[in-house]
């Protein structure tokens, strides 16, 4: 078991009397881990990060850094460094002096400062720009300076607050790979705040998906993608089809669920976790569209007809209308050259099929509420 670098114990932050920005978060971040706090704006992820950095004080709870309590320690006395959202470089100092700032405040010997700064500029490939001022470099370069300025201090933990938010898409993709490379190279624990699920999945070892001041699920990217435990997680990470149903029986390690629209489907018993009413979830890319009347044995199958489709090159997105009008989204990889076969035309009768092991279950909506989900993204409509 790796050592715990950052531990939050029941950390709460309230503003005024009724705004709970962070609502009782407890979690452990392990040494050397790339840990992401993922969630929509206002979910409390940045506040959580700022409390770890020391810029905000929790209303209650405890924060530990490598086993020592730091809850009330000011930022300049914590062994953590932050990469700020807008970089926050010192405009009056050269790139070199920006990177050297932390070492100089710690009274590191001049010769060592010079070697370490040079090494760090090398790592982020900015040696050539060392004498420029922050006003004379591009956004992507400023981002790397901010990273170098923090990493050169060899902190126990590096905090990153949406550091790629201001970059364009292409540069962002490139920086994601770069960030992960640097993290592996320096072996420092990263805590990364983002609202971009793809970004979090690309880089993280573990992700905490946050909503309303707490995290709804914490786990490895594949785990939370394949087995989302709540409706919010299912909708926030990728697209999901959710079909309400009632548990009607069990056979071995599988459970049978009668969907409200008629058919019975099977799920792993572990996914049901003892509930009697669930929404059965299945990701669009897990669905195969089979020919009507020719169900594959051992596979869940629901009849429907293709409402519409959109060809996106690498795949085709189908929307299939079920008997009760429910729309199910399915992605089909275009492995063979698409020739627009008869089964793929709008109006065609098909079977929506998926392997029982590929499904998950989340709590149903409270009785009386319409299951208002976006049929394409599967995200809850609010």
């Amino acid at each position: 078991m790796a050592q715990v670098d950052v531990r939050l114990v029941d950390v709460t932050k309230t503003y005024g009397s009724d705004v709970r920005a962070v609502d009782g978060i407890s979690l452990d971040v392990l040494d050397g881990e790339f840990f992401s706090l993922l969630g929509p704006s206002g979910c409390g992820k940045t506040t959580t990060l700022r409390m770890i950095g020391g810029f905000e004080e929790p209303t209650s709870g405890r924060i530990e850094l490598q086993g020592e309590e730091v809850t009330w320690l000011p930022p300049h006395r914590r062994n953590v460094n932050t990469v700020f959202q807008n970089y926050a470089l010192f405009p009056h100092l050269s790139i070199r002096e920006n990177v050297a700032f932390g070492l100089r405040r710690r009274k590191v010997a001049d010769a060592e400062v010079r070697t370490r700064v040079a090494e760090m500029l090398e790592l982020v490939e900015l040696s050539a720009l060392a004498d420029r001022k922050p006003g004379q470099i591009s956004g992507g370069q400023a981002q790397r300076v901010a990273l170098a300025r923090a990493l050169v201090n060899r902190p126990a933990v590096l905090l990153l607050d949406e550091p790629l938010g201001a970059l364009d898409l292409r540069l962002r993709k490139q920086m994601q790979i770069e960030l992960k490379r640097i993290q592996v190279e320096v072996g420092i624990t990263f805590i990364y705040v983002t609202h971009d699920q793809e970004e979090a999945m690309t880089m993280s070892d573990r992700i905490a998906v946050m909503n309303h001041g707490r995290y709804e699920q914490l786990g490895a990217p594949a785990e939370i993608y394949e087995r989302p435990s709540t409706r919010f997680v299912a909708g926030f990470l990728g697209a999901s089809n959710l079909l309400p149903g009632t548990v009607v029986g069990a056979e071995g390690d599988h459970v049978a669920v009668r969907l409200d629209l008629g058919p019975i489907v099977r799920l792993p018993a572990a996914a049901i976790a003892g509930r009697s009413r669930v929404d059965v979830g299945v990701r669009p890319e897990k669905i195969r569209l089979g020919s009507a009347g020719a169900a594959t044995p051992g596979v869940n199958a629901i009849p429907g007809h293709i409402q519409d489709l959109s060809y996106t090159g690498v795949s085709t997105q189908y929307r299939v209308a079920l008997a009760d009008g429910h729309l199910v989204t399915a992605y089909a990889q275009n492995i063979a050259r698409a020739d627009g076969g008869a089964s793929a035309l709008p109006g065609a009768e098909v079977l929506v099929e998926w392997d029982p092991a590929d499904a998950f279950a989340v709590d149903p909506l409270p009785a009386g509420t319409e299951p208002a989900t976006d049929p394409v993204t599967g995200a809850p409509i609010e």
């Binding site: 300049h76 926050a88 010192f90 405009p91 009056h92 006003g135 004379q136 300025r149 201090n153």
Partner: protein, 290 residues
Amino acid sequence: MFAWLRRHPSATAYLLLAPGILYLALFYVWPTVGMFLVSLETGTIQTGYTQSWNFGVYPQVLGEYWGDFLNSILYGGAATLATFAIGFPLAWFVAFRGGRYKTLLLFLIIAPFFTSFILRTISWKIILADNGFLLGTLKDLGLLPDETRILATPVAVIAGITYNFLPFMTLPLYVALEKIPPSVLEAAQDLYADPLSRLRRVTLPLAMPGVIAGSLLTFIPAVGDFVNAELLGNPRTTMIGNVIQARFLKVSDYPTGAALAFILMAAILTGVLVYARLAGTEELYGARAG
């Protein structure tokens, strides 16, 4: 007319500048030239003045009044330092801790301007009087010996100038401090800077345009001031402004007054240019790359 302007686009710019140029020519260049000519005249108020190109007046008045020049620069310089010492913490507080009271606090800083300059300076006479509010209380408490006095000393003159020019220092400082992004200060904190080195390494360097603007706005008029020395000083604390005023309005010795005014102007211009060269013109104009 408009068709002609369309064919000569650069003429439009000059036409738009014309009122400003006319104003400067009429109320600045012409009087300056006139004043320079007056400084070279000789004569008395009784016999009248005649142009005699008497350049000798310059070394003559400089020799005669160098003590007053020295007083001016000393008092003006001390007052500038004092306004900075008071104005910087004040501006810092308003910019970073003012919160929703910022506007009110800024209003309070300029509120004294709503009362006459002379009136405010006279009230300092009452405050600094030998047995006035300030000294009287301290003497009654036994904290100061009975013979202590401030009024009619250089200290009173400097205090008066400091008080009167404080807003000219505080407001540019406030503007410069206000522009510093909070995240940059947080970054300094994050990189182990304690409050003192944060101030020295980040806040102060980033506030430099305000420091320079504020010190020029304070020092230049303070050197030429005569009201504070007149009301709060004694005959030995006269500043050059007092002499110029007396030459023009009391003795009617126009050439001497004009020559002194020119020497003062030249001295200040030289001083400002040296200052700008030392501090960097970038900061003087407040224009710098983000």
